[in-house]
Every structure is written in C-alpha cells, then in structure tokens.
C-alpha cells in the first residue's frame, strides 16, 4: 500500500485533530475523558469521536470477515497490519465467530492476542446482544477476558432492530434492573469508557431508544451510534436522515458499517455500463474505483469512522490506501449519481431493502 499522505490530507487531518483538541480543552465535560490512545501513525485522516474527546481514524477495522473466520495466522496478520497501517479503531462483538473451527468469540479472542501488546494504539469497541442486566454483565466480563484487557473503550448495545429489542432493553428483572442499567453502570464505574448503540434494520427503533429519558441528566444516554450507511440507504428506511442528524445534534459519535451492503452494491454496480474493471469510466464518478466510491460516499457524511470488514490482506491494503490518499467527500453530483445507480430492486421480496443494510465482508 502507499503510505504517502497528500499535503491536503495531512493538513486536513491535523486541522480536524487540532479543532477537536481545542474543543475538548474548552469543554469541562470532556476534560475527564482524556485520551488513552497514542497519536495515530499519521498515515490516515482522523476525526473527533463525537463528544468523547478521542480522535479516531476515518477507517476502522471490522471484526468479522477474515477476523472471525478463516485461518488464525492470516487473521492475526491482518489485525497487526491494520494497526501498522494507522488504523486505531477496532470493532468486534461478543457473538462474532460461528461454528467449527471458529466458534462464537473467535473475533474477540484473536483481536485480544494482538491488542494485548498494542492496547494503547487501539480504541476497542465491542458489543453485547444480551437484553438482561446479568446477561450484559456476564458478556462484559467474558469480553474482557477474551480481549485480554481490563477496560473497553466503547461498549455497545448490539443490534436494536425491533420494538421487542427496545422493550427488552428496558425491561426490569426481578431485582428491578434492566440491561440498560448494566451499560450505564459499566460506564459509571469506568469499566467501559463510553457506551453506544448499534442497529442496521430500522432507524426508528434506535431513535425510540434515544428518546428515552436518561436516569442521569448530566450524562449523555449514549456516546456513539453505530449504524448501517451506504449509497443504497436513501431508498429504504434511511439511516442518514433523522437518526444521523439526531446523533450529530446530540454530539454523539456516528460510526457506520455495511459500506458495500454485503457486497451487493459492488455486484450491482459491476453490471452498470458506466463501470469497467471495477472503475467508473463515464459520468460524474469517472476515474473512481467502486470501493473508493463506496467509502467516499460515507466519508461525505459527518461520521467519525467507517468500520469495514476485511476478507483478505489485499482488501485491507486497498482500503488503507483509499483512506490515506483519496478520502475526499464526493461532490453532491457524484453522490446523486451513485445513489441513482443503487435503485435496482433485488429479488428479495419485502425484505429486499434489508439486503443493503447487511454485509458479509
């Protein structure tokens, strides 16, 4: 990959970092939240992580794909290479990993092998899909053990997508405790520095959680929202409208996933007459590669970080190169062009739109 950073990119990254640092210094609420991450390697642009005071790289490493599947040696090499390449944000989950030989927990375990000796280089985000107080606490302790650390940077409510998910999150157990109470307590006690919420099916369910009154009005309910976002988003239950705007106005970090929509976006775009050899050859996007277009589309929004799943080392190098050298936002005309090419309805029936909210790699 190319480690070169254009002057423009370098200045932009420094400018954003400086602005974030200045804002943090002026805001007494942010002062206790001092960074535990060493400055990035300077290879990738960074953005403020909402109101947390942290600076994270625009490109983050997703904990599925080769990380929770495939060969152990390749997975570990990819994680090491990602950090070497400048990535300082790694996202995983309690449940990542599946079947034999990489069962549930494989992702956290492999990431822990690497970050045990590089903990201060990485902002670690993981998640629990438990919907009870004791379940969340149990998951958290297991995740700490797998990740070989004594704290998590961002602990997230995993995959709120239905009204039932919302109901369960706030449902009291026999002791009057909810799953949400567990997340808040873990943050209050400093075991996780920040808490967040994730979803990729229905933004209205995430909004309904954000609308719940906080038990502690002095603290934000959530520090971050992880949501699906890609060029097909606008056509079905868009996350980029009410939810993204709400998160930004509340100074929550916006982290995005599903940038290529389970690769469906890439597959669809390859069928377009404007595309040849994975590059646009005509129209407003002429000369831009497909993956670059997908990444720059989400980089055009006020997001902090896009986590991308990696299936092999070549993909990682491509994504690092794009983030380091070509992460300029798309122009409005380019965004419109890309959105207009993602309207084809896949043969998936009523859930068709969901295809683009999920992603394998």
């Amino acid at each position: 990959m190319s480690n070169k950073l254009s002057r423009r990119e370098f200045l932009r990254g420094v400018g954003i970092a400086a602005a974030g640092t200045a804002a943090a210094a002026c805001d007494p609420l942010l002062n206790p939240r001092t960074s535990r991450i060493n400055p990035s390697h300077g290879l990738l642009p960074v953005r403020p992580l909402g109101g947390t005071g942290e600076q994270v790289t625009l490109l983050g490493l997703g904990g599925q794909g080769a990380i929770d599947g495939g060969e152990e040696a390749e997975a570990l090499a990819i994680i090491e290479e990602a950090i070497d390449g400048g990535i300082n944000y790694i996202d995983t989950a309690y449940v990542y990993g599946w079947g034999t030989p990489n069962p549930m927990g494989t992702s956290e375990r492999r990431i822990g092998i690497v970050t045990e000796h590089r903990r201060n280089e990485v902002f670690l985000a993981t998640k629990s899909r438990s919907r009870t107080y004791s379940g969340v606490m149990s998951d958290f302790n297991t995740s700490l053990s797998r990740l070989r650390t004594d704290y998590i940077d961002l602990y997230q409510v995993h995959n709120i997508g239905t009204t039932n998910d919302v109901h369960e999150l706030f449902e009291e157990d026999g002791f009057g405790r909810t799953a949400m109470d567990a997340f808040a307590r873990l943050r209050d006690e400093g075991k996780t520095r920040f808490i967040g919420i994730t979803g990729h099916h229905d933004p209205t369910q995430l909004l309904s959680v954000l609308d719940r009154p906080s038990s502690d009005p002095s603290a934000p309910v959530f520090d971050a929202v992880l949501m699906a976002l890609n060029a097909a988003d606008r056509h079905y239950r868009p996350f980029q409208d009410d939810l993204l705007q709400r998160a930004v106005s509340d100074n929550m970090a916006v982290i995005v996933m599903k940038v290529t929509g389970m690769n469906h976006l890439l597959d669809d775009l390859r069928q377009r007459p404007e595309v040849q050899d994975d590059t646009f050859i005509d129209g407003p996007l002429s000369g831009i590669g497909l993956m670059e277009a997908c990444l720059r589309y989400v980089y055009s929004f006020p997001i902090s970080c896009a986590i991308v799943g990696i299936s092999n080392m070549a993909q990682l190098h491509e994504d690092l190169d794009i983030a380091a050298t070509r992460s300029d936002p798309l122009s409005p005309a380019q965004r419109d062009a890309l959105e207009s090419m993602t309207t084809a309805t896949p043969p998936g029936g009523p859930r068709a739109g969901d295809w683009f909210k999920i992603e394998r790699y």
Binding site: Y94, G161, E168, M262, R351
Partner: protein, 90 residues
Amino acid sequence: MSSPTQTESATIKDQVRSFIVSNYLFGEDRPFAEDESFLQTGLIDSTGILELVHFIEQTFGFTVEDEEMVPENLDSLANVSRYVEGKLGG
C-alpha cells in the same frame, strides 16, 4: 403453548427456506438439501448467521439465547426447523 402440528412444521420450514433463498441464494431457487450445512457449503457465514437469528426472532417471536447459537440449532434447514419447533412447542 401447544406443539406445532405437521402443517405448522411445514410452514416453519417453508418460511425459513424462503428467507434463505431470498437472502443468501440471491433469489435463485436452487434446491438445497434439508441437512446441508450452511457453514460447510459457504451458504451462510458468521454475519449471515446473525441475520438468520434476527429473522427467527422477528418471525417466530422468541429470543435466541447466545448458548443456543450453535450448529446443532442453526446450521441447516432441518436443524433450524427442529429448533424453532422445539422453542414454539416448549
């Protein structure tokens, strides 16, 4: 809750099959064996399993516990159908 009838069992299997065809076979209605391993054939990977779990929870109205997310319950059409029937009948 009573045990599913034979007709209800067929409906469960059909619903799961329809979900898999729509979401993992790209709508191509190719035949796949009821006991075909999703993982070994590459039909569904770890991300896909989470989507299958979401579908099951949303469609059949119960929570799939973490300890239930094992191949014996989820790694083939037959396994999923048996697991869902057991949960609904339990």
